[in-house]
C-alpha cells in the first residue's frame, strides 16, 4: 500500500497493528462485496457484526464504556482503511462513533453512557445524527425543529431532518432541536430518540448517484413524546453539535486519504498492465505526470492528517485546523479519483473498478460535514478575523 514518505516509520507498533487489522478486514470482508452493494444501492449490513467485533465503532472513546480507548492517530488510520473500501462504510462508522456515540459520551448522563455506549461499540445498537433540515444545511443555526418541555418534565418534539446517514437503520437517533419556542441557536439541545417511538418516521431518500452503499434518510417528528431522560443533559447551544462535527471531520480528513489511495493503487496497477501503442500506458509521460500529481497530493494529505492527529492527541488542535484538513483532503480525493477514472479509460466507468465509485462518493464527502465552501469561509475568518457568514 502507498507509503511513499515512509510514514510507517513514525507510527508506533500499535498504530500500525490497528491499521493492518482493519486493512485486512476491509480487503477480505468489504472489497469483495462493495461494488455490488453500491450498484444495488444498499449499505452492506452484513459487515456490522464484524466491524463491532473488531472494535472500530467509537474506537477513540474510553475502555470503561466498552470502547477500545485508542489514540486519535489510530482512529484516523481506521477511517482511512474503511474509506479505502468505500466512503459509505466509513460514513457508517463516522456517524456511529463521532456523531452518535461521541455526543452521548460528551453530553450524556452516566446512565445514558452506560445504557448505550458499549452496545453501540459492539454494533448492537446503531445510531444516527440529525442536524441538517430541508431548509437549513450549511446554516444549522436556523433550524426549526422544536422540542417543548411539558409540565411533568417530558418533551414533545416536532420537525424534520434530512440527509441523515444511517437514518432508517438506526435504533436511536441523536436529534438536535431548539427548545421551548426560543428561536436562538443558544436553545439547541440534543435528544436521544429511539426508533419506533410514536410519531417518529424515517424514510430512505431515493435516487442517489453518490454514496449509494449508505442509507440516507429523511426523519420526521410529529408530536413525538419523549421521556425526561431523553435529553442529553450537558448539551447546550449550537456548539454541542459543532463539537461532534469537529470529531467527525477529523476522521473524514483521514478517510478521504483512503479513498484516494485506493484510486491511486488502481490507476498505478492499470497503467503498468494496459498496453496501448505497443507499450504500457504508464510509460507515457502524460500518465506519469498524472500519477506523480496524484502521489504528491496524497502524500501531502497524509502528512496533514497525521500531524493533526498528533495535535489532537496533545489536546492542542483547533476546529479551524480540522477545517483545513477536511477541506484539503476531501477536495484532493475528488481530484485523484477523477484522474484515476480517466487513466482507466472505458474500464474506468465500470463498477468492477473502484475509481468511479469513489469519485461519485467523494462528491458527498466534499459536501457533507461542512461544504468545501463553508470551510473556506471558516479559514478565511480564521486568518482575516472577518466573518463572512454575517
Amino acid at each position: 500500500m502507498l507509503d511513499f514518505f515512509n510514514i510507517d516509520s513514525v507510527l508506533s507498533e500499535e498504530e500500525r497493528a490497528v491499521r493492518d487489522s482493519v486493512r485486512q478486514f476491509v480487503d477480505e470482508q468489504v472489497l469483495p462485496i462493495i461494488g455490488h452493494a453500491y450498484v444495488e444501492g444498499r449499505f452492506p449490513k452484513e459487515i456490522i457484526p464484524g466491524l463491532g467485533e473488531l472494535g472500530v465503532f467509537g474506537a477513540n472513546l474510553p475502555e470503561e464504556y466498552g470502547c477500545a480507548g485508542l489514540n486519535n492517530v489510530q482512529y484516523g488510520l481506521i477511517m482511512q482503511e474503511l474509506e479505502r473500501g468505500d466512503s459509505g462504510v466509513r460514513s457508517f462508522a463516522s456517524v456511529q462513533g463521532a456523531l452518535a456515540m461521541y455526543p452521548i459520551f460528551a453530553f450524556g448522563s452516566e446512565v445514558q453512557r452506560r445504557t448505550y455506549l458499549s452496545r453501540m461499540a459492539a454494533g448492537e445498537i446503531i445510531g444516527c445524527f440529525g442536524l441538517t433540515e430541508p431548509d437549513y444545511g450549511s446554516n444549522p443555526s436556523g433550524m426549526i425543529t422544536m422540542a417543548r418541555e411539558q409540565q411533568d418534565g417530558t418533551w414533545v418534539l416536532n420537525g424534520a431532518k434530512m440527509w441523515i446517514t444511517n437514518g432508517s437503520t438506526a435504533g436511536i437517533a441523536v436529534v438536535w432541536a431548539k427548545t421551548n419556542g426560543d428561536p436562538s441557536d443558544a436553545s439547541i439541545r440534543g435528544f436521544i430518540v429511539p426508533a419506533g417511538t410514536k410519531g417518529f418516521t424515517a424514510k430512505d431518500q431515493k435516487g442517489k448517484l453518490s454514496l449509494r452503499a449508505s442509507d440516507t434518510s429523511e426523519l420526521v417528528f410529529q408530536d413525538v413524546h419523549l421521556p425526561a431522560d431523553s435529553i442529553l443533559p450537558q448539551s447546550g447551544g449550537l456548539k454541542s453539535p459543532l463539537m461532534c462535527l469537529t470529531q467527525a471531520r477529523y476522521g473524514i480528513s483521514w478517510g478521504a486519504i483512503g479513498a484516494a489511495m485506493a484510486c491511486f493503487e488502481e490507476a498505478l496497477d492499470y497503467s503498468q498492465n494496459r498496453v496501448m501503442f505497443d507499450r504500457a500506458i504508464g510509460g507515457f509521460q502524460i500518465q506519469q505526470v498524472r500519477l506523480a500529481d496524484m502521489l504528491t497530493e496524497i502524500v501531502k494529505a497524509q502528512l496533514v492528517s497525521l500531524h493533526l492527529g498528533r495535535l489532537k492527541d496533545a489536546g492542542t488542535f483547533t476546529p479551524q485546523q480540522v477545517s483545513l484538513a477536511k477541506r484539503n483532503n476531501a477536495s484532493m480525493a475528488t481530484d485523484v479519483a477523477r484522474e484515476a477514472r480517466r487513466l482507466l479509460g472505458a474500464n474506468g466507468i465500470l463498477a468492477e473498478y473502484a475509481s468511479m465509485r469513489h469519485m461519485a462518493n467523494l462528491e458527498s464527502v466534499y459536501t457533507y460535514e461542512g461544504t468545501h465552501d463553508v470551510h473556506s469561509l471558516i479559514l478565511g475568518q480564521a486568518v482575516t478575523g472577518l466573518n463572512a457568514f454575517k
Binding site: 507498533e13 500499535e14 489510530q74 481506521i78
Partner: protein, 250 residues
C-alpha cells in the same frame, strides 16, 4: 490445557523479492513481515481449543531478532496469554538447530500440546515441528486440518491426495497445522491494546549447531515472452502440435 504455539515471522508472500548482497538470502529491505500463514492457523487452533474447553493457557514462542516481538504481540492481540522470545541474531537455515532451541524451552514447560505451522513459507523445510517432537520424545502429527482434544487424547484430520484420514494420539504431543483448521481471527483493536500489557519474556535461544547452510539464493527465472502462432481456427493444428511436441503438456 496448556498449549504452546511456535511461530515464525516471514515476509509477505506477495512481496517482490530481491537477493541480498551476500547472494545467499533474500534482501529484507522494504519487506513486510508477519506471522507465517500456517503458524497463524496454529495460533487460531490453540485459541479455539482453549475457548471450547472454557479455560487453559496459551503461550506463543518465536526465535529471532527483536523484530519478532511484533509478531509475538500480534499473537497476544489475537488472544494468546503470554509470549517467549528466544533471542538470536538470525534464524538458522537448519531446522534441527532451531528445534534444539525450542525443545530446550519447551522441555520443562509442562505443555499438553505444542503446535506449529505445517511448514514456513520462506524455507518450506517442514522439519522444525517433527524434530522438536523427537527431541521432546512425544508423538507428532503433521499437517492437521482439524484438531480436537478430549480427555488426554487428541484427534486430528489429515488431508491426503484424494482422501483424508483421522488419527488419534495421546497427549502431550506435537501437531503441525495445515490451513482449514479455522481462519485466523483479526486482532481486535481492544486486543491490540491489551497485548501491550501481557507478559513477554526474552531469553537467549540455545540453538543447536547449524549443519545445513544456504549457499546461494536464486529468484525463479523470468517467464519467457509468449509466442503468437497464428490467429483463429487455422492456428489450432499448429498449437496442438506445439503443445504436444514442444511444451509436452498434451
Amino acid at each position: 490445557m496448556k498449549i504452546a504455539v511456535c511461530i515464525k515471522r516471514t515476509p509477505d508472500s506477495e512481496s517482490r523479492f530481491r537477493i541480498a548482497a551476500s547472494g545467499a538470502a533474500i534482501d529484507d529491505t522494504g519487506l513486510k513481515f508477519d506471522i507465517d500463514d500456517f503458524a497463524g492457523y496454529a495460533v487460531e487452533a490453540a485459541l479455539q481449543i482453549n475457548e471450547k474447553a472454557g479455560g487453559g493457557e496459551s503461550v506463543v514462542i518465536a526465535i529471532g531478532p527483536d523484530s519478532v516481538q511484533e509478531s509475538l504481540r500480534k499473537a497476544m492481540s489475537m488472544g494468546v496469554d503470554r509470549a517467549v522470545h528466544l533471542k538470536a541474531d538470525a534464524v538458522p537455515a537448519d531446522g534441527i538447530a532451531i528445534a534444539k532451541a525450542l525443545a530446550a524451552e519447551l522441555q520443562s514447560g509442562g505443555f499438553d500440546l505444542v503446535l506449529f505451522g505445517k511448514h514456513s513459507f520462506d524455507s518450506s523445510s517442514a522439519v522444525v515441528g517433527t524434530a522438536t517432537a523427537e527431541l521432546l520424545g512425544v508423538p507428532c502429527v503433521t499437517a492437521a486440518s482439524e484438531l480436537s482434544v478430549t480427555g488426554g487424547t487428541g484427534v486430528a484430520r489429515r488431508e491426503l491426495e484424494g482422501a483424508a484420514e483421522l488419527v488419534s494420539f495421546p497427549l502431550p504431543a506435537v501437531v503441525t497445522i495445515d490451513e482449514g483448521v479455522a481462519r485466523p481471527r483479526y486482532p481486535s483493536l481492544k486486543g491490540i491494546m491489551a497485548a501491550k500489557k501481557k507478559p513477554l519474556e526474552t531469553k537467549p535461544a540455545q540453538l543447536g549447531a547449524a549443519r545445513v547452510t544456504v549457499q546461494k539464493a536464486q529468484l525463479p527465472p523470468e517467464r519467457p515472452a509468449g509466442r503468437i502462432i497464428g490467429e483463429g481456427v487455422a492456428a489450432v493444428p499448429e498449437l496442438v502440435r506445439l503443445l504436444q511436441t514442444e511444451a509436452k503438456v498434451l
